[in-house]
């Protein structure tokens, strides 16, 4: 479905990603993990054609972003659904209009059908009756659920969830991952970036770990947990607290 070959990207002279090779298939749910600022969100934006890589290429359904015209790119992006890290809800639209927007833009459904689908999807994310509200009137968790409804309403074959639980409490985070799991269709590809490995576990089948600008690990959570690699153990094995303590102790000169 998506193939990335030798993807690299720099910003302001700083190399963020380098030589990233990845392949994603239909029906997969893949977790993209790594430390903050490693380029997870950037990689997601490169995969969906919002950002052009400095080197390498990304093909989606066998078509390279680089070879497409502006109109063809816009058309191909219709085959993606995306939940943005900062919600990215349109503040000049109501919740109902936000959720309906991908369907309205696609233009292949009647207004009545769109409304029915919006009500159905908002009910699924436990937000029925808020259609008329604006995003500024919602809590962080509600905004994430609206964004989730908007990302999935088009039933696109590829859905990207960019840090879907950032800034949310543990209960709401669990709810969001449960919803992602419920909304997952067997023929779609889902890519999830998050730091919340524990809650990702029941949802993701395999993981890609980005570290120091490249792909550091690819495999299942089980493989990562069994690894003796200290970096993998920090992320997957629950050693984060110990490593943190050791780092602090080192910095303070405590043996």
């Amino acid at each position: 479905m998506i193939v990335a070959k030798g993807v690299g990207k720099s910003f302001g002279g700083e190399r963020i990603l380098s030589g990233v090779d990845l392949t994603f298939h239909e029906g997969e749910v893949v977790g993209i993990v790594g430390p903050g600022g490693v380029g997870k969100s950037l990689l997601m934006k490169i995969l969906c054609g919002l950002v052009e890589p400095d080197e390498g290429e990304v093909t989606v359904f066998g078509r390279s972003w680089a070879d497409l015209s502006v109109t063809e790119r816009a058309k191909l992006r219709e085959r993606f659904g995306m939940l943005f890290q900062n919600y990215a809800l349109f503040d000049f639209m109501t919740v109902g209009e936000n959720v309906a927007f991908p369907l309205v833009q696609r233009g292949d459904m009647s207004a009545q059908d769109v409304q029915e689908r919006v009500v159905e999807r908002l009910t699924q994310v436990e937000l029925s009756g808020v259609n008329h509200l604006y995003s500024r009137e919602l809590s962080g968790g509600m905004k994430k659920r609206v964004a989730l409804a908007r990302a999935t309403i088009g039933e696109a074959p590829i859905i990207i969830y960019d840090d879907p639980t950032a800034g949310l409490d543990p209960v709401t985070s669990s709810k969001i991952f449960n919803l992602i799991s419920d909304l997952q269709r067997p023929d779609s590809l889902s890519l999830i970036t998050s730091h919340d490995i524990e809650r990702m576990m029941p949802v993701c089948q395999r993981y890609i770990m980005l570290y120091q600008g490249g792909v550091y690990f690819r495999g299942t959570a089980q493989e990562a947990k069994q690894s003796q690699d200290p970096v993998l153990r920090v992320f997957f094995g629950g050693d984060a607290v110990d490593v943190g303590r050791r780092t602090m102790a080192g910095a303070e000169g405590i043996s």
């Binding site: 919002l50 058309k75 219709e78 995306m82 943005f84």
Partner: protein, 257 residues
């Protein structure tokens, strides 16, 4: 080298502005306003409503001060007040009404456009539009461009009237010049109106493009929105001054007798 880079940057910024302008015309030609009628009307109302008091105060004050200062000088040099009104009207129509109103609109409306679009960029709303196959130029720039163009012409005409009336009041109430002497319009020709109108249209095109470009090129967080807003006001004001110079020259050689 620094100067060279700076010039190259300015040139590429100018090219990007022309690219944005041509894309905006393209989307307008493809019926952007028909699809975004609601947004267009909202912008029209918002820009006019947001600027009308500002334009009234600034151009009214400018009219009063200009007439007052000119009459002081005329009183010293040749106490012949009858020339002041017609000269003031001519200057307002050709030059000051469009240019001062243009600068005010660049400040008021230009900053608003840049801040709105800039905050949508940093909150990823522009990316979300792209992901839904909605082109930001079609969705955000075209309605604002059309609304700003129309409102620049209307606000300039309104501002010009306010300024002239305010100047006439000062001339009559402070210096005792009769209204029929001050408001003599017999030496204003269609060419003068055309020169003023061309400036309104040129500013109405340049201001939203400079502001939208600054908004779309916003980087970073809220600090970036602040920088983009400042850049929008500076660039739009700069465009007004440069276009004034070019169009005044054009009018001098091709329109005026």
């Amino acid at each position: 080298m620094g100067l060279l880079l700076s010039r190259q940057h300015q040139r590429s910024a100018l090219l990007r502005a022309f690219a944005l302008l041509s894309q905006t015309f393209l989307w307008l030609g493809r019926g952007s306003l028909r699809r975004r009628r609601q947004q267009f009307i909202e912008q029209l109302f918002e820009m006019g409503n947001r600027s009308v008091l500002f334009i009234t105060v600034t151009l009214g004050t400018l009219g009063m001060i200009s007439v007052f200062q000119v009459l002081i000088q005329v009183d010293r040099i040749l106490p012949e007040y009858s020339v002041v009104g017609p000269a003031f009207l001519l200057t307002m129509v050709r030059e000051f009404a469009p240019t001062i109103a243009g600068l005010m609109i660049a400040t008021r409306v230009g900053s608003g456009i840049a801040a709105e679009i800039g905050s949508m960029v940093v909150t990823e709303q522009v990316d979300a539009l792209r992901m839904c196959n909605a082109e930001p130029v079609d969705y955000l720039v075209a309605p604002r461009f059309a609304a700003c163009l129309i409102q620049t012409v209307l606000l300039t005409m309104y501002g010009g009237v306010v300024s002239v009336v305010a100047g006439g009041l000062v001339a009559n109430l402070v210096w005792g010049i009769p209204y029929e002497v001050f408001f003599r319009v017999d030496n204003i020709t269609y060419s003068d109106f055309l020169a003023g109108f061309l400036k309104c249209v040129a500013y109405g095109i340049a201001i939203p493009i400079a502001a939208a470009q600054a908004g779309l090129e916003t980087e970073g967080g809220s600090e970036g929105v602040g920088t983009a807003t400042t850049r929008a006001v500076v660039n739009a004001s700069f465009c007004v001054v440069v276009l004034d110079f070019i169009l005044s020259g054009f009018a001098f050689f091709f329109l005026f007798d």
